[in-house]
């Protein structure tokens, strides 16, 4: 039982937090800008590499420089929006999706060009697990989950207490009505990009701290993050959190030997777990668990 908790459930929660932070951005983009942004994963990678460079230049801890990286990444993302997404504000969604496909490759190839393809580390060495009675958890996992919770609370506060947050929610629920009441759509859009990019950078830095930094890291997470956003319901950031946690936990649990000694599902298919959940949700309940927008 303890083994189940410590080595399957907890890693699943940690992974789920990383998925969740990324999925919030996807869910918001989907809800407010109305398209699935395939470049989100590589935005995350970009943020991590910027963090890496800042760490190398300043010698500070990655979490200390992360806010600066968030600012820089947001700036770049806003520039990309101006160049590649703004021309399609009034066009069918499909143009935006294709543009984001193209942008995904452009971002990744530029990262590979400037930083090269070899591995980097945000943190060296290993940590021993900390024990609290029968529970065992890594200190950095406590940090990741803790920081993720703080960020999610910040998102919650922003969406409910601030003016821009309420404007974002209004635009997500009913864009025509929101525009009619005088909400500045472009401002809402910029805020959406800023929030999505910053959360993606955070997710990426946590992932980098937990594993390492390489150029495909964001893309590898893209589909599970889409799955999480769809699972939670499009345009529902809280749903995205729940979706992320579910996907992360289910992925880790799929390697558990439920029956006998070997995993129920060959670990080679682990990557397919998120996809399968996603496809199942799309067929069975496309509006997601939390009843988001259904298009």
């Amino acid at each position: 039982m303890m083994e189940f908790l410590n080595f399957y459930l907890v890693p699943g929660v940690v992974l789920g937090c990383i998925y969740a932070l990324g999925a919030i951005g996807i869910s918001l983009t989907f809800g407010i800008l109305r398209f699935s942004n395939f470049a989100h994963g590589d935005t995350m990678t970009l943020g991590v590499y910027i963090t890496l460079s800042l760490v190398q230049v300043s010698g500070l801890h990655p979490l200390a420089v992360a806010p600066v990286a968030m600012l820089l990444t947001t700036g770049l993302v806003l520039g990309m929006d101006l160049a590649f997404f703004k021309p399609f504000r009034k066009s069918p969604t499909i143009m935006l999706v294709i543009a984001s496909f193209g942008l995904m490759l452009m971002i990744r190839s530029m990262i590979q060009f400037f930083w090269g393809v070899q591995l980097h580390a945000l943190r060296i060495g290993i940590e021993k697990m900390a024990f609290f009675g029968p529970f065992a958890i890594l200190p950095r996992h406590i940090m990741i989950v803790g920081a993720a919770v703080v960020l999610m609370m910040a998102v919650h506060l922003m969406l409910t207490r601030t003016k821009i947050g309420k404007a974002m929610r209004a635009t997500s629920d009913n864009p025509e009505l929101a525009a009619l009441t005088g909400i500045d759509t472009e401002l809402v859009i910029r805020a959406t990009w800023a929030m999505g990019a910053s959360l993606a950078v955070a997710a990426g830095v946590f992932l980098g701290l937990d594993t390492h930094v390489e150029t495909m890291m964001g893309f590898k997470l893209l589909l599970p993050m889409f799955a999480a956003a769809i699972l939670g319901g499009i345009g529902r950031p809280y749903g995205a959190v729940a979706g992320g946690l579910v996907i992360g936990i289910v992925e880790e649990l799929s390697s558990y030997p439920w029956i006998g000694e070997t995993p129920l599902l060959s670990p080679g298919y682990k990557a397919g777990v998120a996809f399968a959940i996603m496809v199942a949700m799309l067929i069975w309940k496309p509006q997601g668990l939390f009843r988001g927008r259904q298009f």
């Binding site: 398209f35 699935s36 160049a83 590649f84 021309p87 399609f88 069918p92 969604t93 499909i94 143009m95 999706v97 294709i98 543009a99 496909f101 193209g102 942008l103 995904m104 490759l105 452009m106 990744r108 190839s109 530029m110 590979q112 060009f113 589909l223 889409f226 799955a227 769809i230 060959s266 080679g268 298919y269 990557a271 397919g272 996809f275 399968a276 996603m278 496809v279 799309l282 067929i283 496309p286 298009f295």
Partner: protein, 330 residues
């Protein structure tokens, strides 16, 4: 002299790959150009076709299924059929989804297909792939074998093109366009939207399976890396968009053009000094993405815009007062 012969053979290879990609682009055109179905899972159907061709035709080998020794044309047919069957199953599930949901779903399904081919090692030899795939006309001496294979590919492209052109101008094609442009009106006119979409998806995927079968023969080797999303899905979209979607000629043009650009730009960059040559590989990908953005913004209809079929008087319904000669009847 040898240099010119070399250029000639290279040009043949460009045409062959361009032709195979044309088959894929034409398949995508049926689904997306005509019917508006955003199938981002091309790689999956491509893989199904390629592995079917490979496993049915290769001789017995210790590491994967084999020894059936089917004749090549029959295997190509089987590849189309199997892709169509998988497409039917996928479409039954996904066909009602809105475009970007369909994109995500089809990507997910293509990834699952790839994982299956990668993990069912008893059947496919997993990541090590299938080698020594028989290729049509390979018994002939050089360069006749290359020319014959190219001839076969181009003939197939021509046949598909003619068939699709016929379909486009026929009522079937026009219903597709109607569904794409104004689904409610088409439904109001009594058309079975889901049925048509299903047909379109299945036919397009069968073509993609055929493309996979041709590729398996041309390379004589396939493994799960062959159906990688960049070069098997994204590149086909770029080809269709650049060439002109909803235009069959545009699909072929886009395929030939973009493959030539993709392949030949490397000849230039590999002549740079080595530190640049390696990094330039990334610049190539960047440029393809940039070209796509440029076309999307400045010329979204592509090089060859969509051609609408002119209404053919002979195909009007029975209630039309106008007959062939243009005379009205009572």
């Amino acid at each position: 002299m040898e240099q010119y012969y070399g250029y000639f053979i290279y040009a043949l290879s460009l045409l062959t790959m361009g032709g195979i990609y044309s088959v894929l682009a034409l398949g995508l055109n049926v689904q997306w150009g005509f019917t508006g179905l955003f199938n981002a899972g091309i790689a999956g159907f491509f893989a199904v076709g390629a592995y079917t061709q490979a496993l049915l035709t290769t001789p017995i080998y210790r590491d994967h299924l084999g020894g059936y020794n089917w004749p090549i044309p029959l295997a190509m047919l089987a590849a189309m059929v199997l892709s169509a069957v998988v497409a039917y199953a996928v479409a039954k599930i996904c066909i009602r989804l809105r475009s970007d949901y369909l994109a995500i779903a089809t990507i997910g399904i293509a990834e699952i297909v790839r994982l299956i081919f990668k993990n069912e090692i008893w059947a496919t030899n997993g990541p090590r792939g299938v080698s020594q795939i028989p290729k049509a006309f390979e018994g002939l001496p050089q360069p006749w074998n290359t020319l014959a294979f190219l001839g076969m590919v181009l003939t197939i492209v021509a046949l598909i093109y003619l068939a699709l052109e016929r379909a486009r101008t026929a009522p079937w094609g026009r219903v597709m366009t109607a569904i794409r442009e104004n689904e409610t009106a088409a439904a109001a006119a009594g058309k079975n939207i889901e049925g048509f979409r299903l047909e379109s998806f299945v036919i397009g995927s069968a073509l993609m399976g055929l493309g996979g079968a041709l590729m398996a023969q041309y390379l004589k080797q396939i493994d799960p890396n062959v159906s990688d999303p960049l070069t098997a899905t994204f590149l086909v979209f770029v080809m269709l968009i650049v060439g002109g979607s909803a235009n069959n000629r545009g699909a072929v043009l886009g395929a030939m053009l973009m493959w030539t650009v993709w392949s030949s730009t490397e000849i230039l960059t590999s002549r740079l000094p080595d530190e640049f040559a390696i990094r330039s590989a990334y610049v190539r990908v960047f440029l393809i993405g940039l070209i796509l953005q440029f076309i999307l913004q400045k010329r979204p209809q592509g090089i060859l815009p969509e051609t609408r079929p002119k209404p053919n008087p002979r195909h009007r319904g029975d209630n039309s007062p106008v007959k062939n000669s243009g005379r009205t009847t009572e």
